[in-house]
């Protein structure tokens, strides 16, 4: 459509006399448009003005706050810069340094562990909860409210609450273990457990969202499909296996991609529970970027690591979408 209009501007720019044609003469394609009493060129200019007046401010802000800084971050990533002294050009130096930075690779490992724990469990748990919540039983509104409420709480508040609940001395998590007869744990203070505990906390906050999405998708499954399967003699398990699950595949791909990005970029929870500790055992890549940039003022190297994470996110997302395409799931 746009090229069409642009095309018309160039072809119709005739001699001045032609432009000032009679205000009522319709120009074929334009018949019936109320603004045709204006000369075409001025009308196109007016159209452009109106269009930009509507779309311009929003677009300008979004681009100014994402594309522009993203490009700038790339320029910064090729320098050594602390934000004050003039930046020194390093070429690809920062990226080469990433290869043998043990702290970076440790944080990449932690991020992968967290993602591998979080994404599958959020999908399975979200689906189970959604199926349970789609039953027509009493108290269902109460259950829905309870399970969704943590999603509304901020990650910062969730983290602070979690550091209380999982406090080895005063927390109720250990009290619960004691009641069941299990030994007390250190939770967030144990380097071996910390990632699992953070994953549990993230699930607590995020699974409501997954469940709501699945719930909506479950309600969208055509009733006649289930009916037909039932008439053909399928039992509930078979209906679930052969009708419900295949119908949910596109939503599952969406949730997988969404939650992978959430897990890869997890920052607020780490910040409010452990700040990367104990012994850097919960330092994720995003937290490492934050530390590099805002604790040690290494803007150049921090930007390079951020670009590395960006690349990793892109690769994982594209891999998931390609895989779903090959498996013939139309999610995107």
């Amino acid at each position: 459509m746009v090229t069409n209009e642009i095309g018309r501007t160039t072809t119709d720019a005739g001699p001045p006399a032609r432009r000032h044609r009679s205000p009522v003469a319709p120009s074929g394609a334009e018949r019936g448009r109320p603004d045709q009493r204006w000369p075409r060129r001025r009308r196109l200019a007016a159209n452009a003005m109106t269009g930009w007046a509507f779309a311009g401010p929003g677009t300008f802000l979004v681009v100014g706050l994402s594309i522009f800084p993203a490009v700038w971050a790339f320029l910064i990533s090729r320098t050594r810069w602390n934000g004050i002294a003039p930046p020194r050009d390093l070429g690809w130096g920062n990226y080469q340094r990433m290869v043998d930075d043990p702290e970076l690779w440790a944080s990449v490992r932690h991020t992968f562990v967290l993602t591998a724990l979080f994404v599958p469990s959020s999908i399975v748990l979200g689906l189970v909860i959604a199926i349970a919540l789609s039953q027509k039983i009493r108290l269902i509104t109460f259950y829905r409210t309870c399970i969704f409420v943590p999603f509304v709480a901020s990650a910062a508040a969730t983290g602070i609450l979690a550091s209380y609940v999982f406090n080895p001395q005063f927390g109720s998590a250990n009290e619960l273990l004691r009641l069941v007869g299990l030994p007390p744990q250190l939770f967030l203070e144990d380097p071996k457990q910390v990632l699992v505990v953070i994953c549990v906390i993230a699930l607590w906050g995020e699974v409501g969202f997954t469940a709501v999405i699945y719930l909506a998708a479950l309600q969208d499954i055509p009733k006649d499909l289930i009916e037909a399967a039932t008439v053909d003699g399928a039992n509930r398990l078979q209906v679930f296996r052969h009708v419900t699950l295949p119908e949910l595949r596109p939503v599952t791909v969406f949730i997988a991609v969404w939650q992978t990005i959430t897990a890869l970029q997890l920052f607020d929870l780490v910040f409010t529970t452990t700040r990367g500790g104990p012994l850097n055992a919960s330092q994720t890549v995003v937290y490492y970027v934050y530390e590099l940039a805002f604790q040690t003022q290494r803007y150049g190297y921090g930007s390079a690591v951020a670009y590395g994470l960006f690349a990793l996110t892109m690769v994982l997302t594209i891999a998931m979408i390609l895989y779903s395409r090959r498996a013939k799931v139309e999610a995107f």
Binding site: T59, S66, I76, K136, V152, A153, I160, S172
Partner: protein
Amino acid sequence: MTAILRRGADPLSPPLPDRPAARRRLLPFSPWHLLLMPLALLFVLPLVQMVLTSFMTAADINRFPPRLIPTSLSVAGYQGLLAESHILRWLGNTVIVSAISIVGHLVLCSLAGYGFARLRFPGRTVEFFTLLATVMVPIQLLMIPTFVMFSRLGLVNTLAAAFVPWLTSAFGIFLMRQFFLSLPKELEEAAKLDGCGAFGTFARIVLPLAKPALATLAVFTLLGSWNDLVWPLIAISDERFYTLQVGLTTFQGTRRTQFELLMAGNVMATMPLILGFVLAQRWFVASMTFSGLKR
């Protein structure tokens, strides 16, 4: 025939003759309660404990074994919070930031969404795809340059640093565009024929129809801006301009084990949204699922 119709009415429990009947005899209630009740408690009890702890005395909290129910109600946590932090100011800051963010989102996203959905102007396609590309850019890539940009613009240590990133979003513009595309064109064309300009059509005809989409947008913006930690954390270091989330995390750094204070702060930071959600739950969840997943 009637049997099939009845099956269609309740597809989730197909009327197999033996099993449901047998199950009903085993339990006086649906077996799903056995799964849902513990899960619901698991999700909501930490929040209940948060509220209860905020009304405990320090002695109650430090008691062994820990207890859920306070022996006496105390507002020491809230008093301490008021005395030792600028919590009310932080609350005010958060309200201001969220309000400006919501207004910004509603105005800018609906204008731009309408522009992309209905108006024809040169540069439209390029502009729209540029906008979509911004969705791919992750936040951690933006932290450093945005901070530098804000400090050069003099926005560091002002509330603007917290709300400028929330004034609009590609997601919001896309949401509104999809909604406007789904509206029938006839009303707008009629308005145009009656001599209404593009802006008049938008303000008088289109916007009143867009209430559900605008509500969704407002809910998402409220959740995002109220709960945002990253932007105010990196760009605001002056205590007077903290938002609730930043205030609480820094407060946590210095009061690691004064849980009555921390939980009182948590209550103040989360309860406005939680109460709002519980009161308007139906509408809230409808908003979440409206968000373009069911395109």
